[in-house]
């Protein structure tokens, strides 16, 4: 029997409202942002409108020959950390104080040219303590600029939900906003202070289950960031436009910015395409809204890359006047990658504010290692990421370990110093092997240069060396194993090898590693014995998985090379240099365990 269908048009009046049409069997039959048009079989349906955490439903019946158009503005009262009108969590007195503190109160001078406004609040009356406790601002190198609890203006009325805030003048650049969780732990997010802009950060202390050691903590993943001109500050009442977002007002709609942020946090694909196009093509000038918009655009199945490129160029040159915003840089490399025109840009010292931007940068390092240099702060947070949500948040990484002193004397079997341009291959000769440009002499072969004696304290006992020789039964491996005698030098040497050389070396060791795995029963036990860190363990697992090492029995049918750098960057979600250092670390630690065994 032919099914009868009827046209349904739903226009939510706001491009960031998610619309779902659910049938009588609770299956979603249509989904879209802002507006959908769909022909559906007749029957009973529910139209569901959702914006962030707010949901409304409307029941409809689609009858034959009776199309339905629902054109109704949905002012869904969602929750936001910023005291924005028409949100469920706003208090008018908090709006007023945020407005006053951001624009009229004398700012704290810690630089010149850019501003940061921080506003923290409780949602309910009756809270106690200093809301800004544990919150501090740091330069990228970790230097403390200020402790927020010492500088904020706080509420004094008992009948108000607590609030605290302060505006700070800063030099343009990226800063670390740190939230201490307890004595040992702290997490951070990036704040980018752009020239002639005020960055605004709003945080709530929600209580409930969001606590550490029984104490409520600020909800950093749920933070709201906005941007405004310093003269404008936080302007809640003038900015909100009811009803459909008009292009000329789009940049001033705080709700749109907040909804876009929440859409990113939940991995939604963004807003209705026509509205997004109008929005991105129009006269907006809020950099954050532009960044959100391009991200949402790129999440679409077939994004308009030329539009994205135009928006990013406008952000870079017109809006930010050439200031290097890490998220704009991330978007530009991602757009270039998708256009097949990889973009070489100078290395980024500062992390982006959005997690999606981070993933774009990490992916780009497969082609451009130096984009996130190994010793940069950005690289150090790579395996410290924390939390759920749109923002890039990380646990404060350990301070950079002191580098081992560069050995002025190399072990006797190593001649030459690896250069930056080391060759990415292994060349084997009768008396020596060259790995990435480093010459390793085999067995009894000696270099012609003067011998450099190995210090006694670094020598491996003869019995261990003998056992090692037994295990490492090829000339190449025995040569590499000699590096273990001087771990600092070996570490330095391995760190200087490029990815291809490391990969070849570790793959060539696979029979010995396989035996180690058997001896230790499983990977975890070996990982503990070798003191592998998380990245090294993940790398070892990948080696096992791709059939280089047992116990994998399943044939890989994927067309991608599982040990290609780009694949590993994607699988480990770490920058290329960090993958490479994990590879070097894994090799050295496994060699050390082999030597011990």
């Amino acid at each position: 029997m032919t099914q009868l269908t009827t046209e349904l048009i739903v226009d939510a009046g706001h491009p960031a409202v998610l619309i779902e049409v659910v049938d009588a069997g609770f299956q979603v039959r249509a989904r879209g942002y802002g507006r959908i048009e769909k022909s559906l079989p007749t029957g009973l349906y529910t139209v569901r409108y959702a914006a962030a955490d707010a949901v409304e439903e409307r029941d409809i019946t689609l009858r034959p020959g009776d199309p339905i158009t629902l054109q109704e503005t949905r002012e869904l009262q969602f929750a936001s950390a910023a005291p924005i009108p028409l949100t469920r969590t706003s208090h008018e007195y908090q709006q007023a104080h945020a407005q006053r503190l951001s624009r009229h109160a004398p700012p704290l001078e810690r630089g010149h040219g850019a501003e940061l406004f921080v506003f923290i609040r409780d949602l309910d009356v009756g809270g106690s303590g200093n809301l800004a406790q544990g919150l501090s601002l740091h330069r990228l190198d970790g230097e403390t600029l200020l402790r927020l609890d010492e500088v904020v203006e706080t509420s004094t009325r008992q009948d108000e939900a607590l609030w605290a805030g302060r505006n700070v003048v800063l030099d343009p650049g990226t800063y670390r906003l740190r939230l201490r969780l307890d004595l040992d732990e702290a997490v951070e997010m990036a704040i980018v202070a752009c020239p002639d802009w005020q960055s605004q950060v709003f945080l709530v202390r929600p209580g409930g289950s969001y606590e550490v050691a029984g104490q409520p903590i600020l909800d950093l993943p749920g933070a709201t960031q906005l941007m405004a001109r310093p003269s404008q500050g936080f302007e809640p009442s003038r900015r909100v436009q009811r009803g459909r977002v008009q292009a000329q007002w789009a940049s001033e709609d705080l709700r749109l910015a907040e909804l876009a942020r929440q859409a990113l946090a939940h991995g939604w694909r963004g807003v209705y395409s026509e509205d997004l196009r109008t929005l991105l093509d129009s006269k907006w000038e809020d950099p954050l809204l532009g960044i959100f918009g391009v991200h949402l655009l790129l999440m679409r199945p077939e994004p308009d890359l030329s539009l994205a490129d135009r928006v990013v160029r406008r952000l870079r040159h017109t809006i930010l006047q050439g200031f290097r915003h890490p998220d704009v840089e991330a978007l530009s490399v991602e757009i270039a990658r998708r256009l097949g025109e990889p973009l070489q840009i100078p290395p980024l010292e500062a992390p982006p504010i959005l997690r999606r931007s981070w993933h774009m940068l990490v992916r780009a390092t497969a082609d451009q290692h130096a984009l996130i240099a190994l010793e940069s702060f950005t690289a150090r947070i790579a395996d410290q990421l924390w939390g759920a949500g749109a923002w890039l948040i990380w646990e404060v990484p350990p301070e950079v370990r002191a580098q081992p002193p560069a050995g002025d004397r190399l072990p006797r079997s190593i001649a030459g110093t690896p250069g930056v341009e080391a060759q990415p291959r292994i060349e084997e000769f009768s008396d020596r092997v060259i790995i990435g440009g480093v010459t390793l002499f085999k067995g009894d072969a000696e270099p012609e240069e003067e011998e450099v004696p190995v210090p006694e304290e670094h020598r491996m006992p003869a019995s261990e060396r003998s056992a090692l020789e037994d295990i490492l039964n090829t000339e190449l491996k025995s040569t590499i194993a000699r590096l273990v005698e001087q771990p600092d030098v070996a570490r330095e040497l391995l760190a200087s090898l490029d990815f291809s050389a490391l990969r070849a070396a570790i793959v060539s060791l696979s029979p010995e590693i396989a035996r180690l795995l058997e001896r230790h029963n499983n990977m975890e036990s070996l990982a503990r014995a070798a003191e592998l860190d998380e990245a090294e363990l993940a790398l070892l697992a990948l080696l096992v998985q791709n059939g280089r090492l047992p116990p994998s029995r399943r044939e890989s049918t994927t067309s991608r090379d599982p040990l290609e750098l780009a694949t590993l960057v994607e699988q480990l979600a770490l920058p290329a240099d960090r993958v490479q250092s994990a590879m070097a670390g894994l090799l050295l630690k496994l060699l050390t365990v082999l030597a011990r065994n």
Partner: protein, 336 residues
Amino acid sequence: MEDDWALIVGINNYPMAGVDPLEGAVHDAKEFCRWVTDPRGGDVPNNHAELLTSPHPAAPGLPRPVFSEIRRFFESLIYELQNTNGRRLYLYLSGHGISPSGQESVRNAALLMANARAPNIWDSFAGNVWAEGARSAALFREVVLIMDCCRDLQNNATIIPHMFGNPVDDSRDCRLIEIYATGWASKARELPFPPTNQKQGVFTHSLLEVLRSGQVNGTLLKASVIEHLSCTLKDEKKAQIPQLSRDEDLASVVFNEQSDPPSTSVTIQGHPASSPTIEFWPEGANSSMPVTLGDWTHDGSVWRGTLTPGQYDLRLPGGGGYRLKVLAGVQKEVRL
């Protein structure tokens, strides 16, 4: 089903972790095992289901289960499957849970193993990492991961990578269904339930109530579990928001394939007519049709009967109507 498998883990006691023992995790695991091996439930053959629980009541000796027992299960599973694929793998995990930090901390959810040791040795099993590994290696066409654990924050918990090999192209057609009792960095709770006042995880309680109602697809399961949990916790101050896979992924997965569709209890109070008129609309039909209410009863004030899950229109005398949304395993009460 012949080629379905299940690993069920429930841990109440963590003697070295410095955390309070649980009272319901072992019970929940046993109840889930009962459902998953029931021919009218999950229909997993008994010899394909592994139940690992901590001793209850607590007993002296080495804490268990530990991670190596999970690894052994998967090793034997891989051996049994040889190079074929299973159809569906159930992973049910109940106990104290954590959200380890690291590269993919947003999605990570791990069950603390019984030998987890404070302050640093947080032995754990990252359910989502292993479930996704089994899917992406096309070990199973469907992997159903259910975790009734807290997802509190925890440092120093290293994710132990899975052992299923690389992603394969065949996995494009394989599906991972993720069902978490709570959101990231949040707690899952347990409460006593009548008639025995046995403590149970509130999420598992709701999940099993829905699963035992009859044949349901994934989207109906999702809507029903969320509603059931909301009703169960309506008097509690703190909500617990479960996280289930997207509707698109859930739509084609059917649970209790050997059972009939659910029959949900419905009561209508205050209906003024001699008998209620309830209509449904067959998809694509020309008009709605009345539901036959042969088994419905009236005790003077309340109409009682059953309906299969779906949307209905309850017609009211004098015009107008009331949209009845009937879910699986969630009693529907209407007060007019």
